[in-house]
Amino acid sequence: MKHLLARNRHLVQRIGFTSITMMAFATVFPIVATVIYILIKGGPAISLEFLTGFPHDGMRAGGILPAIIGTVYLTLGTAVFSVPLGIAAAIYLSEYAADTPLTRTIRIAIINLAGIPSVVYGLFGLGLFVLFLNFGTSILAASLTLSIMTLPVIISTAEESLRAVPQAFRTVSISLGATRWQTIQRIVLKEALPGILTGVILGLERAAGETAPILFTGAAFFLPRLPGSPFDATMALPYHLFVISTQVPEMPIKIQYGTALVLLVFVLTMNLIATIIRSRARAKRQW
């Protein structure tokens, strides 16, 4: 009887393990399948001309350079606003703000901001940056809109990384005659940097792939030249993909998948960089 129970338990454990493993595969499978599918379908479209040329024949031929450049501009523009502001906010929340109802409200607001649908950010950006501040449909307005969307991600990951730095480091630093700010600069930020960078990249990666926030604020259907200033509208990869997939009749499938592939590689590369930073930091960590 005892014997039987023991064997039974063994069996249950095996079944448990197997099903967990299968579930893990089930979550990874769609991602891998998508990447492979797009790679196969879009791979043949990739050529030097595709990456460095302008679209022509009503976007049915040629390259996607303006969309690539546009996405790079928008990502950098987003970084310019959201990174310094986000890190500053995180430093304030983690290092200076006392635990008061006000700061608790701020934190809850930040968490909730992360859950707002991106099209709402788009409308907000249209109202505030494009119309009210009169930036027009421009890289500037789109970058600011994307920044607002990205900020919560950056703030909450940065705050978390700052809080993870042991309190004892701060105490010791202060006891050696450092000010709070010197302690943050020399010890806390340095230790939290990998975590902060990871959050920044993940936030920017999301911004790079979004269509809705730039739809009304900065994205152009087609431009015959590259944008010349932050006040110009721009083409962008995700919006271009949307356009050529839904708005252009008789669009060659190959170009659609080629564009998707470029966007995917762009975003996955950022993801890869974030992963490398994180694992390197973990290996080097001294606490």
């Binding site: 480091f169 105490t171 050696l176 005659g177 001294q286």
Partner: protein, 251 residues
Amino acid sequence: MNKIVIEDLSLQYSDGTESLRGVSLGIRQNAVTVLFGPAGGGKSTLLRCLNRLNDLTEVKASSGKILIDGENILDPKVDVIALRRKVGMVFARPVVLPLSIRENLTYGLELAGERRRVKLDEAVERSLRLAALYEEVKDRLDDPAIALSGGQQQRLCLARSLVLQPEVILLDEPTSGLDPISTGKVESALQELKQDYTIILVPHSIQQAARTADFAAFFLQGELIEFGEGKSLFTTPKEKRTEDYITGRFG
């Protein structure tokens, strides 16, 4: 000569704990003064008052005075940075900063504005020798400090507090995690150091208290019960409660 005079010091944390109650105490220059007593007696709290490290914690109310060289350091107008350079501290758990051995030592000096390489190198060597660590680490000053053993880390922390050439050194159970040999090294370093410094030590055992104390203060639940010369206090305590604690009847 009394370096430090504590007058009627009381302190209450924001959760309501009264950690110090009317403590008055004079601390002699160039001597080791030991603060001992059972857990929660307020020893660490008192140390953290002496370099104003309690500014970082939530203190509800405090009253009284701490005079160092005649100046009340609890005065809000006091330059706390200068105070902390003058009153160094070594914590119970050795916390090395996530920097190299050398950088741990030069950290405070660089913050104080010292840039000259020669001066920094001199200070590193001097403080390591004082903490009896120099021979063990002289060839690997640029290695991460975390790679040192626990005992070495604690002596590095001692050295780090000495780099700034403080006048007072606070040590909160500095040998609690150390083996007897490392403990011995730290204790003999302290005996050397007291020629030049005022040392306040919270020992991790009564034996250590008795070994090291020139003067000793017995704390119980925030109150100073008895204070006197180490020799007489540990052999012929005046207070019943001190005697009970020393002879192991409680605590």
